[in-house]
Symmetry: C2
Subunit: 353 residues, 2 copies
């Protein structure tokens, strides 16, 4: 199996290096895996003038899976839109057809203290956000900024077709089947026609999943319910923009976003795997970033793209074990625990494999 | 001064009745005020076939301010879109040009326990959301659902002009001036051109407000920061759809949405005032709903539309006093406090005026 490794920007290279070492450790135990590295985001722009250069496109298309750190940083903020780091990320998602973004919001019991919510509200939290990733207002045309009647006007198009909604709904229902069989679909059907169609099609798809309980919730109410009582949710199914907002809100409920992995899958379980957090340029190069979200993303890669549940569990159990040992990077540290560097955390996970 | 009173649906009539009684009490103390009642939402549809009937339009246009309960309920869910209760609300907002929605998220010290967040995260919380209310994807054209190439497609248009952004930005900066002089403007400029223009224009307007500190934040990050550290915010400036989501999230941080008022203003401080919560059909007619958000909305009306700070403060202090006395409706009740009905709460506020 071929993995395209994209360290990206900011803390990306440091945290990806640890995930790569974990995968190498599994390889020396017999996991069949090839890795090749390429550039994405600002660092790609710096060397090639494009945030998603052709060399990266080739490697990513040929690979079975992509492991990404993170992209972005202030030094690229002034670039024209098509050259900015996040264009690289949007570009690879679209290019590889990665329409299904899976973002678990999971509270690790040892880190419950890190949440800004009361323990009884979040203890045991385990939500999966299934977010559509290649459609919606992110890619909708027409879009732009132009002068009309003497003043600037900016516009974008929110758009979903039936088939786009149906394929992500199936991913959502399938995921719910492997979990607690409850799917809550998010829309703003009382205002937006696009999401009226969303609700209609999701309801149609639900006929094939009589064993999954479907509910619908308006996006504003969902933003409230995530704060009020997040454990009411099992799987949340969302479009691209609502999912962008709600998945970050849900991730932050745990207080330890440095622990949260994500997968973005195409129709054949080829996927891009990346931590839910960003590139954290302020702490880049200091060997203090938390590599666990990236290591757990590698576990998701083994599960979804390589269908290797056993290797995935080995990594996940190793992460649980280092937490149980009391090892913590700075972002999740609390008094009484042992503070470790990015690299030390990687070592500990490898030792615990 | 003429007030158009719109009880609306669900608990609307009960809670508005208490706010009207509070205003009547002030009138008998000399406040010059006329009130006339009309229909909006589902109850308007039931009697006239329209959620925003002509009689209501006339009264609302002629009034100096509108006091609204809430609209909506399951019995109207199956109606065609243009007849649904929320169309009445969107209709009156657009018709009266109420482009500036002010939504305070305020934690009453006596109710701190009601929050799902840790006390240290939310104690003293006092955020003002300034949300644009008559533009954006809510009203953008083209929009619809149609069959293209053999499948249904749904689409909407997010759109803002320079002048729309400028006038709401001014409201935001003016509000920040009356508070802690910090304005955080929300966008998704890394993906949406509409919000790139938003950021540009807000930055231009800030030149006229050198005494207000302007920052910008991406909407997904804002959804996280509200959970992580909400007290970092003073005024949040948002477009219509992002404001819909973030203002509800912010309101829920307090845990007592039954206490939160809102104002929707036009260019001349004519306004519509309503509680931030919904019509709660499940508890309608039981005399248990919390009327305080509506009573506090009446206070906002006196402040913004009638420029009567003194009368506004009289109401707000009366509300503080009933909380200090330990009176609580069911939604904010805790052991050791006195549970009161909607009507009893109204009585207590009037007695405390
Ligand atoms: C960087 C940005 C374009 C991206 C998005 O909005 O999808 C990010 O916020 C995410 O959620 O992965
Ligand atoms: C009822 C609905 C149309 C409305 C909105 O989306 O604006 C409501 O959620 C609000 O925030 O006042």
């Amino acid at each position: 199996m071929k993995v395209c490794v994209l360290p990206g920007d900011g803390i990306g290279p440091e945290i990806v290096a640890e995930a790569v070492r974990v995968l190498e450790a599994l390889r020396s135990d017999g996991l069949a895996l090839e890795m090749e590295t390429a550039q994405l985001g600002g660092s790609a722009f710096d060397v090639s003038g494009s945030p998603y250069p052709e060399a990266t496109q080739k490697l990513a298309r040929a690979a079975d899976a992509v492991l990404l750190g993170a992209v972005g940083g202030p030094q690229w903020d002034a670039l024209p839109r098509p050259l900015r780091p996040e264009r690289g990320l949007l570009g690879i998602r679209k290019d590889l057809g990665l329409f299904a973004n899976l973002r678990p919001a999971l509270l690790f019991p040892e880190l419950a203290h890190a949440s800004s919510l009361k323990p009884e509200i979040v203890s045991g939290l385990d939500i999966l956000i299934v977010r559509e990733l290649t459609g919606d207002i992110y890619f909708g045309e027409p879009r732009g900024i132009e002068v009309r009647d003497g003043q600037r006007v900016g516009w974008n198009t929110m758009i979903y077709s039936e088939s786009e909604i149906r394929r992500i709904a199936k991913v959502g229902f399938d995921a719910a089947r492997r979990r607690n069989r409850r799917l809550c679909s998010i829309d703003k059907m009382n205002v937006l026609e696009t999401t009226q169609l969303w609700r209609d099609v999701v309801t149609e798809v639900s006929a094939d999943y009589p064993d999954v309980e479907l509910s619908h919730m308006l996006v504003d109410n969902a933003a409230m319910q995530l704060v009020r009582a997040p454990k009411q949710f099992d799987v949340l199914l969302t479009g691209n923009i609502f999912g962008d907002i709600l998945s970050d809100e849900a991730a932050m409920l745990t207080g330890s976003i440095g622990m949260l992995a994500s997968a973005s899958l195409d129709a054949n379980n080829k996927g891009l795997y990346e931590p839910s957090h960003g590139s954290a340029p302020d702490i880049a190069g200091k060997d203090i970033a938390n590599p666990l979200a990236t290591i757990l993303s590698a576990a998701m890669m083994l599960r979804y793209s390589f269908d290797n549940e056993e290797a995935a569990l080995r990594i996940e159990n190793a992460v649980k074990s280092v937490l149980a040992q009391g090892l913590r990077t700075a972002d999740i540290w609390e008094a009484g625990k042992r503070r470790v560097s990015t690299h030390e955390m990687g070592n500990a996970v490898i030792a615990a494999l």
